[in-house]
Symmetry: C3
Subunit: 203 residues, 3 copies
């Protein structure tokens, strides 16, 4: 049950996030759908690939595909006036998708009895993979790599689930909310991890 | 028979298209071959991956590899004077490759008894995948996502073949010509799908 | 024995090379680890994928993962003053990684009894794949495609090992040194292959 919930929420949020980026880049309607689909399913594809599950398993649940299409159609039909104010929501949907998919990816690894490290990797990749592909295709620098704390929250979810500290559905939903809020706070208050700049020393 | 025809035409056209982009970006001869090969085989690799066929199946037909190498060698040895005028042909070869691979990808899905949606996805990915990888490696924004109507023609081929409206070889060849011409017309007359701009609202 | 040696050296060199690029791009500490890991394991992942070995085989040797983490931690803790001078070493580590992984990739293909062409492809992809992914994620144009002679040295290693001219461990180590030195010389003296410029004829 929790699994379906996180899948559906994640697919919707990332499909919308991809569609918003596509509109910002002036892609046509086909480009909007394409980027939305790639963002929604990209993280899962990379995760399946690395964990050794056939990527084609993604296509088994046609309902998810239809949910993604439906979400983007609603977005595309939205009155332009409202949408103009929506740009702030790009990061909001991205945060929801990150959180939902990180938890789902970690649950996936636990279900297959993979080690803790695989749960963390699966959480990070499923959570951030779609966004990385989205940013690459849109010619942007991947958000996950530069800005405010992002994938660390996915790794945290992976740890908590990998060590089976969080297992019950109720706590998973709670974790989902906590991770989403932490990511949004990171964005709003520009929380950053320590970094070491070598800029200016490019070859 | 039709299958081999579309494979060979698609491989040749995309190998040449990749090589032209590499020359425009001043890559050396190795870069020209590398980008040509990646463009020629990239779409099929992504398709195999997503549809659940081993990617390594690509290497079974060594002849295709040799055809790609041969096409690029001919291009590289072409007199520079003529080549300077060839830049217009970059899109021409890309259109041929798109059309040939879209049809081939859809036939592939039908042969494996996959649903209609998979035929459309396979047509779009096989048709446009190589070009997307080519553009990413060359540091360009993927053509498929921004410019004039492109992948929609691949999707159309996927629908017609997926619904088994077009099955006979003769009609497949006809479809190949129609799709190629539609893409070239899209490019020449700048046909665009509706789009919704959120530009200027970047975060 | 030689196999483990090349794996370890390659993983260390590419992890450091990815981490240096991440610092130049001002990524935070998580970004440094992420880019280092992706650079260290990316080439092998692409190779496994194309050769038909499960990508998940990468995770079996957890020691390699720990070696990569350790190398990057040492780098991150390095005094900034010294590190400022290290930028020249980015290419040095990249050269070591290229050489070690090209040899390892070719050995891999020989072990699986694949044809010569596969040995060359495996050498090139394993040697340069991680660097390509690193450059794409960092928003740089892939080094392999533009600059001084690079992947050709990997292809050379692939040929020598594919034809089983070099088989004994001792000669493999020697080949490793030769390829690394050739790449460094290419960089220092700007050796280039012939290229044919179509620049200025962009569409």
């Amino acid at each position: 049950m929790a699994w379906e919930f996180f899948s559906i929420i994640g697919i919707m949020a990332f499909a919308i996030s991809g569609a918003i980026v596509a509109m910002q880049e002036e892609y046509d309607i086909f480009g909007v759908y394409l980027l939305g689909i790639v963002t929604a399913f990209g993280g899962g594809a990379v995760r399946n690939l690395l964990i050794g599950v056939p990527v084609s398993a993604l296509w088994e649940k046609e309902m998810l595909f239809q949910i993604a299409l439906f979400s983007m159609t609603v977005l595309f039909l939205f009155p332009n006036g409202l949408l103009k104010h929506w740009y702030r929501w790009g990061n909001f949907f991205d945060a929801i998708g990150l959180s939902a998919f990180a938890i789902q990816g970690a649950l996936f690894a636990v279900e297959y009895n993979l080690p803790i490290s695989a749960a963390v990797v699966a959480a990070v990749l499923t959570g951030s993979g779609g966004g990385i592909i989205r940013d690459l295709l849109a010619g942007r620098k991947p958000t996950v790599l530069k800005h405010e704390i992002y994938a660390v929250w996915a790794a945290l979810a992976g740890l908590l689930i990998g060590f089976e500290i969080v297992t019950k559905d109720l706590y998973l939903y709670l974790l989902f909310i906590v991770i989403t809020v932490l990511r949004i706070l990171s964005y709003m208050y520009k929380w950053r991890l320590p970094f070491k700049s070598l800029q200016g020393s490019q070859q």
